[in-house]
């Protein structure tokens, strides 16, 4: 057993911090909550790419860095700590590249991985549908074979990154006759095609992250299929473990935590800093304890991946825990701010740069996307505790 980061990892973390602090000092961007998913900054993504930090864990033979998942956790942890605008490349780097490394053909690897590593694939995640949320396998979007092509028809919703995407990851039904989980395939293709249309969904923060995406007779070549036809659902289960394993499930609103600490040090109530109020101290210490234990769940997932195992119930646990923590953080910040907590980011008097307000609203979605906490608990109960319905 060993809880220490290697000297190299410590150095790498410092390198990432220096880079990000340098960016902030130059005024290139401001740390914000949810920046990994909301803040699209192609220039930032290009600079990250130039550092070789997209595709960090992919094999060197495909142009990746062949580094460990712990290294990637370190990188993403720092990106989140500094609230860096990494939305352009986040999904491609986290999820799509790995899927292609794992299931892709040699041609796909040669064509797509360099695009992702250059930070030029802005990916939308086309999974959920109006009638296929937690029960993803009941999705209806069709991919019908036609010569060398597939024809896509149907609708996706809650498509993350949809309004900014130039590529989409799509799961669609390829065999309507088969039992529902056995007739699904995965695709990855450019979206500048006739028949693709996107309609943004405004969320409760007033921001746009989710979208409806419509496919009307969209023709894509068969080379867009990832892995095996009709085996998509089983490939997805594996990818979802990766999607759920990231630091963004614990630290999406981390900049709020730092702002909150600053706020209680600087804000006086009854002539005393809030930081001297025992109730406030206790609340913040509790958050710190929960955050640090959350980091242990997260790094455990990294350790498992570095052992060459798929993160299984462990990533479900870290995600369900992490998102609940983020919601508690937001709630605690609102409570501590009191009446000021209700002020919108646009208000002159808003504390913590409006992040408490924003995060209180945005964190409601955390425990839904990429697997609701209930689905995750079902997974842990089934896969690990071996509890199941009769």
């Amino acid at each position: 057993m060993n809880f220490k980061f290697t000297d190299e990892q410590v150095k790498f973390r410092q390198e990432v911090r220096d880079f990000l602090e340098g960016e902030i000092k130059q005024g290139l961007w401001q740390p914000t909550c949810d920046a990994w998913i909301m803040a699209h900054d192609p220039e930032f993504t290009r600079r990250v790419s130039a550092k070789g930090w997209i595709g960090l864990t992919w094999p060197k033979e495909y142009g990746g860095q062949g580094r460990s998942f712990i290294d990637r956790l370190i990188l993403t942890e720092e990106m989140l700590r500094y609230g860096a605008p990494a939305a352009c490349h986040w999904f491609a780097d986290r999820q799509i590249g790995g899927a292609i490394v794992h299931y892709g053909t040699d041609e796909q690897k040669e064509e797509i991985l360099p695009i992702i590593m250059k930070g030029e694939a802005y990916v939308g995640l086309g999974m959920s549908e109006p009638d296929a949320g937690s029960d993803l396998a009941s999705l209806k979007t069709r991919a019908t074979e036609d010569g060398d092509d597939f024809i896509i028809d149907g609708q996706k919703t809650w498509t993350s990154g949809g309004s900014n995407m130039n590529w989409i990851y799509l799961v669609a039904r390829t065999d309507p006759e088969a039992p529902k989980a056995r007739g699904i395939s995965e695709f990855f293709f450019r979206t500048d095609l006739p028949g693709v249309s996107v309609s943004p969904i405004v969320d409760i923060t007033g921001g746009v992250h989710f979208n409806e995406v419509f496919f009307d007779n969209v023709r894509i070549p068969k080379t867009c299929l990832i892995g095996e036809k009709n085996r998509g659902f089983y490939q997805i289960l594996n990818q979802l473990d990766f999607e759920r394993s990231g630091m963004e499930r614990l630290m999406a609103n981390y900049p709020l935590f730092e702002a909150l600490i600053q706020y209680v040090k600087e804000t006086k109530r009854n002539g005393k800093p809030l930081a001297e109020d025992p109730v406030v101290r206790s609340k913040i210490a509790q958050l710190k304890i929960e955050l640090e234990v959350g980091r242990l769940y997260m790094y455990r997932v990294g350790v498992i991946m570095d052992e060459g195992r798929a993160p299984n119930w462990e990533s479900s646990m870290s995600k369900a825990y992490g998102t609940a923590f983020e919601q508690r953080l937001a709630t605690a910040a609102i409570e501590i701010a009191g009446l000021y907590g209700q002020l919108s980011p646009a208000s002159r008097l808003t504390p913590m740069r409006g992040m408490a307000y924003h995060s209180y609203l945005s964190s409601k979605g955390y425990s839904l996307q990429a697997g609701s906490s209930e689905v995750l608990k079902n997974i842990i109960a089934g896969r690990k505790l071996e509890l199941s319905a009769k």
Binding site: K288, Y321, K377, I380
Partner: protein, 377 residues
């Protein structure tokens, strides 16, 4: 980072688990709880023969020279088995402080006795204020011709009624800061002037009230430096808190395992209740809490083992274990239903111990404050 136990640690855990399961069925735990001594001298001797008392002592003191982390693994199994008796007091609160702060002569004198199972030790630290900070120490030791005279009352002292020696923490001079002027004494528990009475506790774990009335202690029985003992006390408490967390991990894991097994076996509405999502999610909530306790406890124990400063990590582990354990036990009972509330069911051993463990060596509030300070608040 790696979270894998060494082969040696796996073996130690397996051996401990086999031994403890064999020797301490709950019928035996119950019998021992009901005795006044609170332990079985015969099994105690066998534990010593297995090398457990001297697990972390160097060979020259009759030990087996294993690490604190190895000891933590052993403690986890002891927690799982609800081991009654003075193991924690003797090794964690007596042996380790002497190994850490004792003179060569003191180590020679006391450690082999502990390692062989002959000597029982404990720590007399807390008092009526029930605090683990320096301000809580009011017992006084006044310098006399050839030593000190101890006066005061210690509360919640584990196993003092059967101890051969106590480490007694007392104030030797009045200073502006409560941390200054504190000294640790190695006190012969049979010294004239010591009286000891058992407290009735939820875990039935033999905590005592110990009155020191004009107790003479020779000068050479000072552990470490006079007046500067608080630094060592802090270390003792920190180490004991981390160790208690590992103990609690065993306790909570066993409660979880019992509960999951019961959910698979108990049928209502024509199916095992573990088939209902609400029960599954309760179990997952318990499991998540136990895993958090395990990861944070292992981290703290590993850091102590490596000699790294870990005030914050210990605080996090103990706070977590302390606030998570009532939640885990509440769900364990909810899933067990009425049968779990009966005195003849094994669950209640864990319920009672989890409660005591939660407050021993600092509760969640105590460690939240430690974390707040470490954060610079």
């Amino acid at each position: 980072m790696d979270l894998v136990l060494t082969e040696e640690q796996e073996m130690l855990k397996k051996m401990a688990s086999d031994f403890l399961t064999d020797k301490f069925p709950k019928t035996v735990v119950k019998e021992i709880e009901e005795t006044e001594s609170g332990y079985s001298p015969e099994i105690w001797k066998e534990m010593a023969e297995l090398g457990w008392m001297g697990l972390v002592f160097p060979e020259e003191y009759g030990g087996v020279d294993m690490s604190f982390l190895d000891l933590a693994m052993l403690l986890e199994e002891m927690g799982r088995a609800c081991l009654p008796g003075p193991y924690f007091s003797t090794v964690m609160l007596g042996g380790l402080p002497i190994l850490d702060a004792g003179s060569d002569k003191q180590k020679q004198e006391y450690l082999p006795g502990i390692a062989s199972g002959k000597t029982i030790f404990t720590l007399a630290l807390t008092e009526a204020s029930a605090r683990y900070d320096a301000a809580g120490v009011e017992a006084k030791a006044t310098a006399d011709m050839d030593g000190y005279i101890l006066n005061g009352t210690k509360l919640f002292v584990p196993d003092a009624h059967i101890a051969d020696y106590m480490l007694c923490v007392a104030r030797t001079s009045d200073e502006a800061k409560p941390e200054d002027g504190i000294t640790i004494f190695i006190v012969d528990a049979k010294s004239p002037g010591i009286s000891c009475s058992l407290l009735k506790t939820i875990a039935n774990d033999k905590l005592c009230e110990v009155v020191f009335d004009q107790v003479k202690v020779p000068k050479e029985n000072i552990l470490g430096e006079p007046d500067k003992g608080w630094a060592e006390v802090k270390k003792i408490v920190e180490r004991a808190a981390a160790a208690k967390c590992c103990d609690m991990v065993g306790c909570l894991q066993e409660a979880l395992d019992m509960t999951v097994a019961y959910a698979k076996e108990r049928k209502q509405y024509d199916q095992p209740i573990g088939g209902f999502q609400v029960i599954q999610h309760y179990c997952v909530d318990m499991f998540t809490d136990v895993e958090g306790a395990r990861l944070s406890a292992y981290q703290a124990a590993w850091m102590i083992s490596e000699g790294l400063p870990c005030t914050q990590e210990v605080a996090i582990a103990k706070a977590w274990a302390s606030f998570a354990s009532p939640r885990v036990m509440a769900l364990a009972h909810q899933i067990h239903g009425a049968i779990g509330c009966t005195i003849d069911h094994d669950l209640q051993y864990y319920t009672r111990r989890a409660s005591a463990d939660g407050v021993t060596f600092g509760d969640a509030n105590f460690y939240r404050e430690v974390v707040a300070r470490e954060m610079g608040l």
